[in-house]
Amino acid sequence: MNVNGFKKWISFALILNGLVLTSGYAIADTPPPAAKEQTAAPAVDAAPDATATPPAETEAPAPAAAETAAPTPAAAVAEAPASGEASTTEPSMVGTDKISAGDTAWMLSSTALVLLMTIPGLALFYGGMVRKRNVLSTVLQSFAVCCIVTVLWVVIGYSLAFTPNTLYIGSLDRLLLHGLAYVKETSQLTVSHIAPTIPESVFVMFQMTFAIITPALITGAFAERIKFSAMVIFMSFWTILIYAPIAHWVWEPAGLLASQGVLDFAGGTVVHINAGIAGLMCAYVLGPRRGYGKEPFPPYNLVYTLIGASLLWVGWFGFNAGSAVASDGRAGMAMLVTQVATATAVLTWMMIEWVRKSRVTLLGACSGAVAGLVAITPASGFVDTEGALIIGVAAGLFCYWGATALKRILGADDALDVFGIHGVGGIVGALLTGVLASKSICNCEGSLISQSIGVLVTLVYSGIGSLIILKIIDWTIGLRVNSEDEQDGLDISQHAERLA
């Protein structure tokens, strides 16, 4: 069964690539080489030609340099000399004088902010929404995912996602971060071709925090019923088989979707649609919680949820503005539109509740905030303030629908509405990015068709891939706790701990 599942997975990826390649090139307005400017947000403002551009000038557009930074055939990339100057197609060694102190300081700060989103932000956000008997297990899941993904990321994840190789997957050049270096004696260090003004170590850490929060988001879908051991195994395989390839497709300039002109500034596709659809698959495969739809599942403490949502909100500035990989004007715009879209989505959600239920809820406000944050994520480096207002309203409307009406239609016990908010919000943001991208901000053109392809490919690959992983785990060790353990709560049954 393992072999069959693997074969199916490989076959599916190949077929999918064929479809996307044939359709994508036919519809793209711009030739593929220009896609790097549009797609890999981290590379755009970060002076693609680091050897020619001093750090202080990283904010200035360098169209000519960007041209030269266009995706290169893998063979040519492999032959690129590592001559001590920054290559634009693969990680390389540079002198420390090529590093921007400002960019590096901002990226260090952003990295800490994004990590704060998961621990404790997401842990508290989710922990407050489950029943008292499952609070500890829920927050522990986020904490454990943080540790699992950290190790996997440095062992293999970063290399698969952020080194050039094929359209589908990176190379193993950075296995165990082999080749990543900082040599004090010669004042040299390695940089990523995607972020040439900051040390590669910082880029590895920054991207690691994205890899951490994405599977951590999924935990909300199977809350209150999954075995801890099954969760650990699922997250491990999912990070390597699903997250790393999709990150490569979207953020590696020569990746499958990046080369099609798909825009995703900070992870609407890679993080939110990806986690949303995986969460939905988890909810389907695990089945509903005992008593779901018949008895109330009151949240333990919505103050925790508010604190978690607030930490997510603040941390999201690192997530979105940090994705500029520079402390520049584009990062400033990303921060501004993040705040505007989020506040607008909260107001929209509250207004819907007011109209429909004659009252505004705390959980609704927190949900609106996350919806707005999710939806602005792919657009944050591409849209202006007006675009942010539109995205905020759309996020509030569609995510409210996703967490209520769509949830009933889908019929899955997606416990904390991972698909309803992250999946739907990610789709809304990705599609609107194609409509609202401002040429003055990103020097690029959005395409609704390209964005739709990006959404579709991610939904299909992540959905089917997650389903296969889940089924294999279910057939082997089992995914779900038994009925008695579920009734007692995962805190006691899985961890022998409980809240007083």
Binding site: P296, P298, A403, G489
Partner: protein, 118 residues
């Protein structure tokens, strides 16, 4: 006996009645209205559950006096205390009780949080 003792036992009755018989009782009103309290105690005993009978006896002793007065502190006597890996059927004996909401600012509507958080 103090009202707090009565309320403590009534709270256990509330939780157990809800779990065993799916009936919600008014804890406050039990201590104020004897007729209501007698009706609830009778209802609790009709369920045939050992826990409920025990609590009914305790409450009757506290409320009306007599042989069934509580000799031990109600909280200590609570049979729903945590006993890991207890063999009882899970539907009636969870090792962890959700907090009762009768002592705070009020209960949410019955349909709230059923099938959806939002």
């Amino acid at each position: 006996m103090s009202d707090s003792d009565k309320t403590a036992v009534a709270a256990h009755l509330y939780v157990t009645m809800r779990r065993v018989a799916n009936r919600v009782i008014d804890v406050e009103w039990m201590s104020k209205n004897e007729e209501y309290a007698r009706a609830i105690l009778s209802l609790a005993r009709q369920q045939g559950a050992e826990d409920l009978t025990h609590y009914a006896d305790l409450y009757e002793g506290l409320m009306f006096g007599g042989g069934a007065t509580a000799q031990s502190a109600p909280v200590v006597a609570a049979p729903v205390a945590v006993t890991p890996k207890a063999p009882e059927p899970p539907a009636t004996k969870p090792r962890y009780e959700e907090p009762s909401d009768d002592d705070d600012g009020g209960s949410p509507p019955p349909s709230r949080y059923v099938g959806s958080l939002r």
